[in-house]
């Protein structure tokens, strides 16, 4: 023992010695002799400070060592217990198995398992193990399997093994027994799972029946086992499911005589399908239980993603959609990503699943009254609509027709020349056969043809838009309700008041090109109402969570513009109402509360991108944005100023605002006075005012803004029209909002740099500084002393004055009555 421990200590700790029973370690006689003779050499071993070594080796290594020790002790007890419990099978019959970590594994047969035959769960294993004893050849096979299983086990669940090894040592034998049996059962069924899985993967056709066994294991009460079973089944199914959909043979087909191979395949397929069905049923049941929710959802998602073409995919899809806005973050993510991948690789399932999924989601949204997590709608963004489907085919068809016509003409001519009946009939035959073949091919090939795909796409699109419109309408009604019955506290749900509005608007902006023009009017009406929703609430002046925020309303305006822009077929529509909204929203904007990015984007899209603007409106926006720039941070004011610049460049007449001539002259229109609080930009009379804000902005603390303001105010005088303002308000906002944080220190550092530059112009910069400091100190001191002197002086004077006064008085008195002088 001592020697072995010495050995252990000498070896560097991270390398654990192989797990070999002590008895097996052989020492040569020479070694023994040497140690016995030179005990002095070995004495240092006894003196070794183990704790110090452990300390030096660090915590991790120490734990390894400890683990090692633990294992050894455990193994000892384990062995003892095993001896009591099990009959060691003669190693001649079954060779011991050496696992990867070096443990020798003797095949044993438990007594207990024989006793517990009544237990139904164990029955199978017992039978197998009994057979093991009976049949020698099988036993060998089993040994092989166990080897495999051990390998696989290590690959798949290394953590589990680590857990396993920490068997609690119990004093009471009965308890130990119970625990052991549970442990063993767990271990056994795990091994079994691994084993069956390996078999299935190696030869699915032969071992298809073991699917059933695996399913049986999944019925276990132990949650761990069930989870493991589900996951291993998932792995198996993922691999063995064929690339086609299985159609079970009809009665007629069953009656027909078939070859052996066909029979075999049929059997295989039907078994696979049955097992798959059972597995799915199990999954769908378990998915509703909170314990298994995550595992089951993971299985379902992976299955649908891997084999979206296989049977029963509808059921999978239904259960995924059900979970799409689950409160559990992990589950939701899984479901959303699965559906997203379904949408993005349509090739796998030919687009049919897309239609179904979209339809299901639409129904789901309907059922939940639009109170879902935004993620559930965001998945629509990954749908792709191909406009060219069928168009190419149509063109091809047209060409063919044309060609055919040509041919026919030729034929007719030929016929006129030589009427060969036989040839004609032959040609007809040929074409007939060709048609048949193509029809067959169409039936066999998996890809649906263009018409079908187009149909499906239309269906998808209608479902998507149905959902979007439902959300919009729902939001509108909720707003309507809240404004009517102002204070009723209708619960906003777990996801906020309008959880789906933002993704819905995004989606609308993306898919507008697919929208039919007939719906455009309705869509615009909805958006208009939504954008103007809170002007109603301002009257009631009640804060209601149901109302839309400024950013949401801005987004509505934005989407409206996007919709218009993308459907701009030669008709330039002026969205006046949305301009009015934007004009008012600028006033309602608060930097912290609302997203400035959206504001900058809407400035860009609504004001900068339009080629032509109303003069009055442009002037009103210029004025309001300039005022806006005065009030907020540099990012906001910069984006506003960029917009102003853009507007002024496009509208030459608006540059009257830059003239120092209030009243605006003839262009100001009927409104003679600027009305800053007007709600309609056309009626604000902005041309009657002057952009005095720019003058103030030239003194802005931020250099960029002040230069911008200067260039703006010089715009009128400089004749060159080619101001290249490549910057958009969005870009400006992004630049300056990043700079917001780093602005202050930068400025300081710049100042410092300047100082240094100035200093470095004279060679002894630092010395000068130091000297300066010294001088400064001296001067300060001097000043101080002078000041003190002056003060002291004053005080002294004051003190002197008092006696002087007295003296004066005395003198006066003296002068008045010379008698006193005599006294004095």
């Amino acid at each position: 023992m001592g020697k072995s421990s010495r050995k252990q200590k000498v070896i560097p700790p991270p390398l654990l010695p192989p797990d070999v029973p002590e008895e097996d370690i052989e020492f040569s006689d020479e070694d023994l002799k040497f140690v016995q003779e030179n005990t002095d050499y070995a004495r240092f071993v006894s003196r070794i400070d183990t704790t110090a070594i452990n300390k030096q080796c660090g915590g991790r290594v120490k734990s390894v060592e400890e683990k090692y020790e633990e294992e050894r002790s455990k193994k000892k007890t384990h062995q003892e217990e095993n001896e009591s419990n099990e009959i060691l099978v003669d190693p001649v019959d079954v060779l011991p198995v050496k696992t990867l970590d070096g443990k020798l594994h003797f095949r044993t047969v438990t007594k207990k398992s024989k006793l517990a035959e009544a237990d139904t769960d164990e029955a199978e294993q017992d039978i197998l193990e009994d057979e093991n004893i009976l049949n020698k050849s099988q036993r060998r096979a089993k040994a092989k399997k166990s080897k495999k299983e051990a390998k696989k086990q290590e690959k798949e669940w290394p953590e589990e093994i680590a857990l396993e090894e920490e068997t609690p040592q119990a004093a009471v034998l009965a308890e130990v027994k119970e625990e052991l049996s549970a442990e063993e059962m767990f271990e056994n069924s795990k091994n079994k799972l691994a084993e069956l899985g390996m078999e299935l993967l190696s030869d699915p056709e032969a071992n298809i029946k073991s699917l059933k066994e695996m399913l049986e294991i999944c019925k276990d009460e132990d949650t761990k086992i069930v989870k493991l079973g589900l996951l291993s089944l998932l792995a198996v199914f993922k691999d063995i499911i064929p690339g086609y959909r299985i159609r079970l043979p009809t009665e007629k087909e069953l009656e027909m005589k078939v070859s052996k191979e066909v029979k075999k395949t049929r059997f295989y397929e039907s078994t696979l399908l049955k097992a798959y069905k059972a597995y799915l049923q199990k999954l769908i049941i378990l998915e509703k239980l909170p314990v298994y929710n995550q595992v089951a959802t993971r299985c379902i998602c992976t299955l649908l993603e891997a084999v979206p073409h296989f049977n029963y995919r509808d059921n999978l899809l239904i259960s995924i959609v059900r979970n799409i806005s689950s409160p559990d973050e992990v589950v939701r993510r899984l479901c959303c990503s699965t559906i997203g991948s379904l949408f993005s690789n349509e090739g796998k399932h030919g687009g049919e699943l897309t239609v179904q999924a979209v339809r299901l989601i639409a129904d789901h949204v309907k059922a939940h009254n639009c109170q879902l997590h935004p993620n559930s709608i965001e998945v629509f963004m990954s749908i792709r609509f191909d406009e060219d489907i069928g168009r190419r085919d149509k063109e091809d068809a047209n060409k063919k027709k044309y060609k055919k016509n040509n041919k026919r003409n030729n034929q007719e001519e030929q016929n006129q020349v030589q009427e060969n009946e036989r040839k004609k009939s032959k040609r007809e035959m040929m074409s007939k056969i060709r048609d048949e073949v193509t029809a067959d091919h169409m039936g066999v090939t998996y890809e649906p043809d263009a018409i079908e795909r187009r149909k499906m796409q239309t269906e998808t699109l209608s479902a998507v838009f149905e959902t979007y419109f439902r959300i919009l309408r729902n939001t509108m009604y909720s707003i309507g309700e809240s404004s009517e019955e102002a204070n009723t506290t209708s619960n906003p749900g777990a996801f906020g008041s309008h959880p789906l509005l933002a993704p819905c608007l995004d989606g609308l902006a993306k898919f507008t090109q697919q929208l039919d023009l007939d719906y455009m009017g309705d869509l615009m009406n909805y958006l208009k109402k939504l954008a103007s929703s809170s002007s109603v609430s301002n009257n009631t002046k009640q804060k209601n969570s149901k109302l839309l925020t400024v950013s949401e309303r801005l987004r509505c305006c934005l989407v409206a513009f996007r919709v218009m822009r993308s459907n701009l077929n030669a008709l330039n529509v002026d969205l006046q109402d949305f301009f009015v909204q934007l004009y008012n929203l600028i006033l309602e904007y608060r930097p912290g509360r609302d997203s400035g990015i959206v504001l900058a984007e809407s400035l860009k899209i609504m004001l900068c991108d339009d080629r032509h603007q109303d003069m009055q409106k442009a002037a009103a926006f210029v004025k309001r944005l300039a005022t806006f720039a005065l009030c907020f941070g540099c990012a906001e004011s910069m984006s506003a100023l960029v917009t102003v610049k853009n507007l002024l460049q496009k509208n030459v007449k608006c540059r009257n605002l830059l003239e120092n001539d209030a009243g605006g002259g003839s262009v100001s229109g009927s409104i003679a006075k600027y009305q800053p609080y007007a709600t309609d930009p056309n009626l604000s009379g902005a041309l009657a005012t002057v952009l005095w804000e720019l003058k103030i902005l030239t003194k802005h603390y931020h250099p960029a803004i002040s230069t911008m303001a200067t260039t703006l105010s010089n715009m009128n005088t400089s004749q060159s029209q080619t101001f290249l303002s490549a910057v958009t308000p969005q870009q400006a906002f992004a630049d300056f909002s990043l700079e917001k944080e780093s602005f202050e220190p930068k400025n300081e550092s710049r100042k410092l740099n300047n100082k240094r530059k100035r200093g470095s112009s004279s060679e002894e910069a630092q010395n000068v500084l130091e000297i300066d400091m010294g001088r400064l100190n001296k001067k300060l001191k001097e000043n101080f002393t002078i000041l003190r002197d002056i003060k002291e002086d004053e005080r002294e004077r004051m003190e002197k004055k008092k006696p002087l006064k007295k003296l004066n008085n005395v003198v006066k008195k003296k002068l008045k009555n010379p008698k006193s002088k005599k006294k004095f």
């Binding site: 023009l517 455009m520 009017g521 218009m564 008709l571 330039n572 529509v573 006046q576 007449k653 009927s670």
Partner: protein, 187 residues
Amino acid sequence: MRPLDENETTVVFEKLFKFVGNNLKKIVENPSNEGPETEPGRYCFRLQKNRVYYVSESLVKRATNISRKNLVSLGTCIGKYTHAGSFHLTIMSLNILAANAKHKVWLKPTSEMSFLYGNHVLKGGLGRITDSIVPGDGVVVFSMSDVPLGFGIAAKSTQDCRKLDPNGIVVLHQADIGEYLRDEDEL
């Protein structure tokens, strides 16, 4: 010269409302800065020889000095009653309408002249159009550089305009500034 009676007022206001919508209030309440009064007065509508005038109050006071027979015109003429008794807006009302217009149409430079000769506005000549126009609405016609050219009645809604062929009529002509030359005598 006399104020409009109730019937006439509704007719005139309905006509104006078609063009300016809720901005009609602005037209009526527009403060006038005419005359020597320091307090801004109001504008009002007066009928004189079948013509309706939009006049500031201070001018009305002064106009009373002139006999009805001798008074040719005052303020801005915005429309006239025809012999059949219906009210028509005339081109002189364009300034008021354009400043408060709700529905606008901008013409491409190429089709400006056609409109100024008294033709309808066709889809092909449309430069821009405000949304949410309903057939029957009054529409003010502008050039692309925001000069008001005239007004008319919408024949098609904005949505329908999209699908219209280029020769379809969008706005029915009512008045245009070409009339100042063409019908100089009648005005």
